[in-house]
Symmetry: C2
Subunit: 707 residues, 2 copies
């Protein structure tokens, strides 16, 4: 949007690609593929214009065609409602005059004369080819409002019929298509067909880079495309992907023997911390420090080079100067090493010279049959296996918790911070992977590994950018089939959009939107901030998704009821009135000044009758109008808090409706209750917004799986 | 919106007030006040309609007038573009037919014949009288799209010219008024005048309950109101407010002597915990337990009644059966007690009977010159004074921290939970007030007290609903004048809107919007969730507001840079490129693969050269293109983390640009650094979204104060 305005402002259009098509050219292509475009002819002279106008019959529209004038309306190069020969002549001249004024140097192809169609509901339908995920189709509120209202929806090619339908339903202006306030119902089927036609066109014409149909008029019967803008641009072929063998993955993730090249006795150095953490956290395989300057490191004999190690080596950890790594990989290959983690920095992240070095590294690895993690990785940790080939500060901990979350991070520092915070909260991990520069193995490769990893049941990712969209979608599909939730935080929103775009579609649906669309298409749970990565991962570790979005809310405070109901409303979760029968049962436990309809407020009577909490939870969970329960605790202290905790765990064990628990009161009030929750795998969230948000993700995931 | 759709769906309009005006009546009122309404006449017969149409000159619009048909278009009771006598006759009959079909029983006043105006940009301009804050004016995208687009802005009466201008600027469709994409600039001044005319009308006609002008056509010259809908309803006079004396407040908040009526030796009882907490946390005044059944409670002689206390009593704490309280207050009055806190429940919160009892309590207090907190309060705590007249579980703590935050909560449980959490985070309070049912003193009264309280510099509120909007606005104004930030979390959004509304304005701008508008008008910082109440209060305790929204971001990780920049973009904070000079200075410390433009990434080199952090921070803070700094730390551990902490504190002390600090890595990595931050009053936030959000509130507040 920025760039588009920019381009308008200075009136010049110097950034246009030579492959920008005029409306006439674009319309001709679409006509060939039987799109409902407005008929039209290209007039080179005034008299031709008049003759075409008569042929089409008045009124007509006339538009000046120039590849140098994209925004024709802004340039005065579109004239509507021309009703006579006289008007047609004047229009022809006016268009040439306006073009000359707007851009004297413009290359003019002639004047397009089109039938004038009656106004219908205006939509924009468009395409943008995303560098990562390929063609994305957009439909939205059209006409002049496109960029003001930002009312649009998107889908990646290939778009199914169902997705096309959903695209319409997601629009804020959808009611206008569907007989809003007594108006006629418009031809939604024709819009859906148009989307599917575009889908086919994108598959056939890879070189479409941006395409706007704006406005498309939608009528009670049919649709009509009244303006076309197409940018063609050839695309680089994607890098071919390497095949990974099981033994390579096994060497990387479950190595029986590890060589640390660049090992050190100094734990201030990365090579020292790596060995230290491996030993400190109980690695049981064989460890071979390699450093020509030492005989022994932390009690282990040290070798001058890999070749000297008198044993097989599964995994090589390279923590040496960047320029030494290609030769080292050759040596690894000779030794039969199957996998390596390269920690060294000084590769693609520092610029062109590093990029060339990284290519050498990849070439050496490919030649030697070695799969790589990195370079510029801070390593891999596998708490369940006690293998810590990483030097992140998180490993300072004395309690690295095993668990079933597999975590993949493109940022070493963020990944390591999140690991440390999660451990501090008692959340455990099966695998923790810092992918570094992804010279060889990329995020999708690691996700595919985690899908097959028996220790992992939830996959969590911190992503800055994906290299190969198709590979990511495949990995996500595998995760979905394996019923392993794939939770993603994606950063880099604010730096996108620096590439100039020529179309409205390009302006409203950028790269960030492509990620969102891809994530949605592949049932990825996209969280909104890094804190949610932990919040949501720990929920999916323990709690199944509910069958629907109807929440029962149970608290001991009217204030908490109100806050949780607000948060549910914000997250589009429903809070239905409980059945008469449930309300009757609740009334037996809850005093009259409490609330039994939903949200349920058991009131401070809980303090004198804590055993009522179980009856209340049971009644709410048994209600057929409820799909899941949100419990929000406030200041209950031990021992009452422990009675409540026990009630929650017992009811949780007896029902197939998920229960998510919040507790706003400080930890010091109820250490026993919190310990009980922890022992029974009940994740606890502090604030109502977080507990409700987690429930929303559980609900969304359930809905995605159902589709 | 819900209720409006409901009403449409069942076609009936049974909820209409008798005071609903027809368009003709409404137009007549507006015409009297010189609003730019469409001229029109009310025709009772076909021939009258024709004669009026000729008078006005064709084309005309004809509309059926019935107080029973509000949504005329939906009922087919509006016919446009009538061009001849013949068409006028037909139209007259059609309107009667359509009305009969839509609602056979409708009372029909006749047919309004109006000049037909050319279409302009369609706005809705409307009024809703909010039960709390009075008249609120709305302007938005008009016509049929009002409820689909939700593009509107609001202001409370009295609306200033500046506010009226801002209302227009806030619209998403504002560019359409301002010459969007080469179109003509429309008459914004005429829209502003219309808003100000409505403002004057509201002041003169208190009984306007809802009013829609929709659409209002905006032209290059002037505006024209083409439809008018007005609902009149008389309004209850507000309760008159009591005057509070300084000695009453002093008795309530700084009592030299306290009588606890209903004191107990059993700390499982509220009356036991109250005495226990007073003693445990070191109350230094005189304490008189009152209970006819005991001689002594927790080492203090116990009295059978208040009258028997051989001393003056400043504050009475009543923790007895609800029905005993009126008589007790009479006794308190005789004793000269000036203030009482009523903890007992069983008042307005349990229904009609309790409400009557509450009125008796208020009457007794008014008669006796006693100011009340409560009933149904859990009390007041003043850590700076060591006075804890409260029984909330938060007081279980051994470390109730004093501070300068004054906290007012309408929910005892939520307030107590938040207090305990904040204390656990090391955040201290000057006053903590549970307002209970607000029979006498209300939230605005307590805010006014805190504005004058020398111990308090930040005021923080958990609000469910305000009784008297005007009083709240006054209190907020006083807080603003005293430069004490007033931070509010307001719940109850999801339960609003149950009252039926008859207008589009009512549907889009409900009670929640009135709160938002009032908060904005009075420079209240409205936070979005309860967690933010603590986050933001602790920020305002220590950090001043920046002069603008241009952020310098400093991290030691590319991932953190990206995430913080994203969050800034989300919060509309700018991240400008640093000056060449600053970049040059930064390049001296930061390696080439770091980032010096902004966000600044010092890279993992920080680990080997931690002293560079201070140079970097100094350079960024000295850059004139930066208003404030966000530091996001990741996994730095002690001792490096402590070097960084020291750098932050030193630079903070040297600059007038605020610095807000996030730290994602776990606490166990850097306990010394965290302690250092705490000692030097640097609040720390865990996740990037929270640190950036806090900065956004600081910036917003600075902007509000500047206005």
């Amino acid at each position: 949007m920025q760039s588009l305005q920019q381009e308008n402002k200075d009136g010049g259009e110097s950034g246009i690609q030579p492959a920008f098509l005029t409306e006439y050219e674009g319309t001709s292509i679409l006509a060939k593929y039987h799109f409902p475009v407005a008929e039209g002819k290209l007039a080179a002279t005034e008299s031709e214009a008049v003759s075409f106008a008569r042929e089409l019959s008045y009124p007509v529209v006339m538009k000046l065609m120039s590849p140098d004038i994209i925004h024709k309306s802004d340039a005065g190069c579109v004239l509507l409602n021309i009703r006579s020969d006289e008007e047609a002549k004047t229009a022809f001249d006016t268009l040439y005059l306006n073009a000359a004024r707007y851009k004297p140097s413009a290359d003019i192809h002639g004047v397009l004369v089109q039938r004038m169609f009656p106004k219908g509901l205006e939509l924009i339908v468009g395409v943008k080819r995303d560098p990562v995920f390929g063609h994305m189709i957009t439909v939205g509120a059209g006409g002049v409002l496109v960029e003001l209202l930002h009312d649009f929806s998107t889908a990646l090619v290939p778009v199914t019929r169902r997705e096309a339908e959903e695209m319409l339903h997601q629009l804020k202006i959808y009611p206008l298509l569907n007989g809003y306030r007594g108006a006629e119902i418009l031809d939604q089927e024709a819009v859906i067909q148009l989307i599917l036609q575009l889908n086919d066109l994108c598959i056939q014409m890879e070189e479409i880079s941006e395409l706007d149909l704006n406005p498309v008029f939608v009528y009670e019967q049919g649709v009509r495309i009244t303006d076309v803008r197409i940018l063609m641009e050839t695309k680089e072929a994607p890098k071919s992907l390497r095949i990974t063998t099981a033994s390579q993955l096994d060497a990387m993730f479950n190595p029986r023997s590890i060589a640390v090249v660049g090992a050190s006795s100094n734990i201030k150095k990365n090579g020292g911390r790596l060995v230290h953490y491996l030993l400190k956290h109980g690695y049981t395989g064989k460890l071979y420090p390699v450093n020509p300057g030492s005989d022994e490191i932390m009690g282990h004999p040290c070798f001058p080079d890999i070749s000297s190690i008198p044993d097989e080596v599964d995994l090589a950890c390279l923590i040496v100067r960047a320029d030494l790594t290609p030769a080292l990989l050759e040596e690894c290959a000779r030794k039969g090493v199957k996998a390596a983690i390269i920690y060294s920095s000084g590769f693609a992240e520092i610029g062109e010279q590093g990029r060339l070095l990284q290519e050498q590294v990849l070439a050496a690895a490919e030649k030697g049959g070695i799969r790589l993690c990195g370079p510029n990785s801070i390593g891999i940790a596998s708490p369940n296996k006690k293998i810590y080939t990483a030097f992140g500060m998180a490993l300072q901990t004395d309690k690295p918790l095993p668990g079933n979350i597999g975590f993949v991070s493109q940022s070493g520092a963020m990944g390591s911070s999140l690991l440390s915070r999660a451990w501090e909260q008692g959340v455990g991990f099966s695998r923790w992977i810092s992918v570094g520069n992804e010279a060889d193995m990329t995020i999708p490769d690691f996700i595919k590994f985690l899908v097959n990893d028996p220790d992992t049941s939830v996959i969590s990712c911190f992503i800055e950018g994906i290299q190969n969209g198709r590979s990511f979608l495949e990995a996500a599909q595998k995760a979905k089939e394996a019923r392993k939730p794939l939770i993603v935080y994606k950063t880099g929103r604010s730096t996108e959009g620096q590439r100039a775009v020529q179309s409205h579609t390009g302006a409203i649906a950028g790269n960030d939107q492509a990620y969102k669309t891809a994530f949605k298409k592949s049932s990825v749970i996209q969280v909104e901030n890094v804190g949610e990565l932990i919040d949501v991962s720990k929920a999916f570790m323990q709690i199944k998704s509910p069958r629907g979005r109807r929440m029962g809310i149970v608290t001991a405070s009217g204030g908490a009821c109100s806050v949780v109901a607000d948060e549910c409303s914000l997250q589009h979760l429903e809070v239905p009135v409980l059945s008469q029968e449930t309300q009757r049962v609740l009334s037996e436990s809850i005093p009259p000044f409490g609330a039994v309809q939903n949200p349920v407020d058991v009131t401070a009577e809980l303090l004198s009758k804590p055993e009522m909490f179980k009856q209340v939870l049971q009644a709410v969970s048994a209600d057929p109008s409820i799909d899941a329960i949100i419990v929000m605790l406030t200041t209950s202290a031990d021992p009452i808090a422990s009675v409540v905790a026990k009630a929650i765990v017992e009811v949780r064990n007896d029902t197939d409706k998920p229960i998510v628990v919040g507790r706003l009161g400080a930890d010091f009030l109820a250490p026993q209750a919190l310990e009980y929750f922890h022992q029974h795998n009940v994740p606890i969230y502090v604030t109502p917004d977080r507990v409700v948000k987690v429930m929303k993700y559980l609900v969304d995931y359930g809905e995605m799986l159902d589709k």
